[in-house]
């Protein structure tokens, strides 16, 4: 008889840390191939369309990066928060807060033209950070579960926003619940002629190493990790855990807010109810896939952007519904959670009898 059992590891080898996300993604694709086959398509053709169509031309590559930008921001937001074990499921709402603040500033006449873009960035980050403080304060002050409160606050802000867009903030010239367009001077500059590659993409790509640096090289990052891993020992050592959770929330919310700023100032130039197709939630999957490493967030977000962009072409070519992209996202989270088990445990096979 052969038995398998799990044994705790003393340490996680580096190669395993690097290969686990890749293995998780491969496992996801294998799992989802059944669905592709059920849709009546050749698995190989469908997957090659899914992955290659997002990178087969310059414009497609640029689009993939544009798609990845908000995902990088929300992925970073979640990665920072989860390090402190501040379970911020509210990146979606913080993104909306950032988007609204940016659209509000960007639509105001009378501000100097040069100040609009920096002001939008600051206001969007501040709005996201502030909105994230709500679950943080509820948790540190009143011991309210942050998973629940941060999640529910997403709906609060979403419906608040749609109410505004249907009422006082509705663009009188539009038939849809959209806000008025922001001023031309408030639009993010385009970095590459005749593409949609806007400043927000660059900001996202620069944020990842910056967040990595904060987490790795500053005493704030140190405290975030310490509080996340052992809040009691941190408090005994004189670290104010409440303050650290609050700082984490502000940092996390600000990053999610920037995702909203980028979407408003770089792509849509207005707020509308469909501005985020769940970037905040996808950020959770991305952060997990990146094992909460800010640098890992970039490839993870790019992977998801590839799938989302490629799903359209795959659907057109093979008839597999675009929803496969979402199934892959969900399955990737599950396989990664299973894969994480192997960072602290190993399988031992024992033969008996």
């Amino acid at each position: 008889m052969i038995r398998m059992r799990l044994e705790r590891r003393d340490s996680t080898p580096t190669w395993l840390n690097l290969t686990l996300p890749v293995l998780a993604v491969l496992a996801t694709l294998v799992l989802c191939s059944g669905l592709v086959a059920m849709a009546g398509a050749n698995v190989w053709t469908a997957y090659s369309k899914l992955f290659l169509s997002a990178i087969d031309s310059r414009s497609h590559i640029v689009e993939t990066f544009v798609k990845a930008a908000p995902l990088i921001f929300t992925g970073l937001a979640v990665a920072v928060a989860f390090r402190a074990k501040f379970w911020n499921i509210g990146a979606e709402g913080q993104l909306l807060a950032g988007a609204m603040a940016a659209a509000f500033i960007g639509g105001r006449e009378g501000l100097p033209a040069w100040s609009l873009v920096p002001l939008m960035i600051v206001a969007g980050a501040a709005a996201g950070g502030l909105w994230a403080c709500v679950p943080a304060v509820l948790r540190t002050r009143y011991k309210v579960d942050d998973v629940v409160s941060s999640l529910l606050l997403n709906f609060v802000i979403f419906y608040g926003m749609t109410a505004l867009l249907d009422g006082p903030w509705k663009d009188p010239l539009s038939g849809y619940p959209d806000s008025p367009d922001i001023l031309m001077e408030a639009e993010f500059p385009i970095l590459l002629e005749r593409t949609r590659l806007h400043l927000g993409v660059l900001l996202a790509l620069l944020s990842a190493p910056l967040v990595w640096w904060v987490m790795r090289k500053t005493s704030l990052g140190f405290s975030i990790r310490a509080v996340g891993e052992n809040p009691v020992a941190s408090r005994y050592a004189g670290i104010s855990t409440g303050a650290v959770i609050l700082m984490t929330a502000i940092l996390s919310g600000a990053l999610a807010g920037l995702a909203g700023v980028g979407e408003v100032a770089g792509l849509h130039f207005q707020v509308m109810s469909g501005i985020s197709p769940g970037y905040g939630y996808t950020g959770i999957v991305i952060a997990m896939l990146a094992r909460l490493n800010p640098l890992g967030v970039v490839p993870a977000a790019l992977f998801f952007a590839v799938i989302v962009t490629g799903a359209e072409s795959m659907s057109r070519a093979t008839g597999v519904p675009v929803f496969l992209a979402e199934v892959i996202q969900g399955a990737a989270l599950l396989t990664m959670l299973v894969a994480l088990l192997f960072t602290s445990y190993r399988i031992r096979i024992a033969r008996h009898g």
Binding site: T218, S223, E229, N230, G238, I239
Partner: protein
């Protein structure tokens, strides 16, 4: 005549964890009626061996026989089915259930109904047989530590254990409670059961066991009859592989009070509250706090550490009043702290050792400036401490949780002593440590004493209290019921005071 069939025989047990050979060719036999003392320093392989017997690990090599029959033990359920019972250092009880309900956990009963009458009858029988009496209707949360342990033993007997493993069973007991435990163990041995007794307290091993097996670095180094000529010193030397001399504690006149508590009280719901605690610890003095666990020692430590607010009374460090103590303030005033729960409240086991070593000072130079870490300074500091205290760790980057208990304690000591504290608060500083590591810790305390620092030692280990203290304060139900200079203290007196008899002093 052939030798009798042993109750238990473990043959040629080998177990490897990564690079560490935790057990190598270990042979253990237990005859009916044996009480085997299993001795060894931390990391010697005792726990691994017992975990193999209890089914937590599977051995790489070797076999186990019970009553001469080869057995395979894959998990604790199989161990229990083979008559092996284990009482862990940390109890596995449900505090909100009664004694009886805890006994019935995991038992199917008949047709989904718990068979209470039969259980009570069996409980009664165990009580009479082994002097292990407990009221079946009491809530486990209301039991003392000693009673909870009794329940754990009863649980093992209830499941039909004939081989009982006890891991550090006396760590939290009063001397009188420990005597009660020993009586029960002797009764079990007389019935033909086998007992394996793991302890660091050599005098207890001498007192209770019939055989002693000493392990070092995963191997058995000695197997001896517990004969009168076997001395504690000899056992200690076998364990650590070299000679030990008792620590030197020179006469010393204490100086000014460095830690001063007056009428300190706390008011926290659901905990043992302090009432009217007045205590001085003076420069060059070690004051020991004795008491059965749960009598306010933890609360006292937390008040001094700045974690629990004072409801009344005052606290001074070196003459400076601290109206609202916090961990930060106490640390800034020169308070060092060796916490009772080193994994839970001292270190961060999941992060690199270096993180734990600089945790309390991370916001200060040289470890950080303007919020930016100086990794070079951190590394240099940690490497220096590893070197100075002889911490066995694979470098500053190794995860703290992989260190042995003794090395974790050394790391904590190094961290707290690096800043030359005025007052050191040490709670259970040698719990779970082996003789060599405990000796090291004690030497550090005596060195602080020699340098006119104050040490407040909270310990459930009376031998430790008596070895180190200049004065002994005994806590009972949140109060200090007496303070004895070491010259006037003896184990009997202190033991009675621990049980609440004030006039024993």
């Amino acid at each position: 005549m052939s030798a009798p069939t042993p109750l238990l025989a473990m043959r040629g047990i080998g177990k490897r964890f990564g690079a560490v050979q935790a057990n190598r060719n270990v042979e253990l036999t237990l005859q009916p009626g044996d009480i085997l003392g299993l001795l060894g320093e931390n990391g010697a392989g005792k726990t691994t061996l017992m975990n193999i017997l209890f089914g937590t690990y599977s051995p790489d090599e070797g076999s186990i026989e019970i009553d001469g029959q080869p057995v395979e033990i894959h998990n604790s359920a199989a161990a229990i089915a083979h008559g092996v019972g284990m009482v862990h250092q940390h109890f596995h009880l449900v505090p909100r259930h009664t004694v009886l309900e805890n006994l019935l956990v995991g038992r199917p009963g008949r047709r989904g109904l718990l068979d209470k009458a039969a259980a009570i009858a069996r409980l009664d029988e165990i009580g009479r047989h082994f002097q292990l009496v407990l009221d079946p209707d009491r809530l486990v949360g209301d039991l003392t530590i000693g009673e909870q342990q009794r329940l754990e033993i009863i649980k093992a007997l209830f499941s039909g254990a004939r081989i009982l493993i006890l891991d550090e069973p006396t760590a939290a007991l009063t001397p009188q409670e420990a005597d009660g435990l020993f009586d029960a163990l002797r009764a079990m041995a007389a019935e033909g059961m086998g007992v394996i007794f793991i302890s660091h307290k050599l005098h207890e091993v001498r007192a209770i066991t019939s055989h002693v097996m000493v392990m070092r670095l995963g191997e058995v180094v000695a197997n001896l009859e517990n004969a009168p000529e076997v001395s504690q010193g000899h056992l200690a030397e076998l364990m650590c592989g070299h000679e030990l001399t008792p620590p030197v504690k020179p006469e010393k006149k204490p100086g000014r009070p460095l830690l001063h508590l007056r009428d300190v009280a706390t008011d926290i719901r659901g905990r043992t509250n302090l009432a009217g605690i007045s205590l001085d610890v003076r420069a060059g003095e070690i004051v020991g706090i004795a008491g059965v666990s749960g009598n306010g020692q933890r609360e006292l430590a937390e008040v001094i550490a700045g974690m629990l607010p004072l409801a009344a009374g005052s606290l001074e460090i070196d003459g400076a009043a601290v109206p609202r103590p916090s961990p930060n303030i106490m640390q800034a005033l020169g308070m060092g702290r060796i916490p009772e729960d080193r994994m839970g409240t001292g270190l961060i086991t999941s992060l690199p050792l270096s993180d734990s070593m600089v945790l309390p000072r991370i916001g200060e130079a040289p470890f950080s400036r303007h919020g930016i870490l100086d990794h070079r300074a951190i590394r240099a500091f940690v490497e220096e401490q590893i070197e100075r205290f002889g911490i066995k760790a694979g470098g500053p980057d190794i995860r703290a949780g992989t260190l042995s208990g003794g090395n974790l304690q050394k790391a904590l000591l190094a961290r707290e002593l690096a800043w030359n504290p005025l007052v050191l608060l040490a709670a259970q500083p040698t719990r779970g440590l082996d003789v060599g590591a405990a000796r090291f810790v004690h030497e550090q305390f005596l060195d602080l004493r020699a340098r006119d620092r104050a040490v407040l030692l909270i310990s459930e280990d009376l031998e430790e209290i008596f070895t180190l203290s200049d004065r002994i304060a005994v806590m009972y139900e949140g109060r200090i019921i007496g303070v004895l200079p070491i010259a006037e203290a003896d184990v009997r007196k202190v033991g009675l005071m621990m049980a609440g008899m004030e006039d024993a002093a």
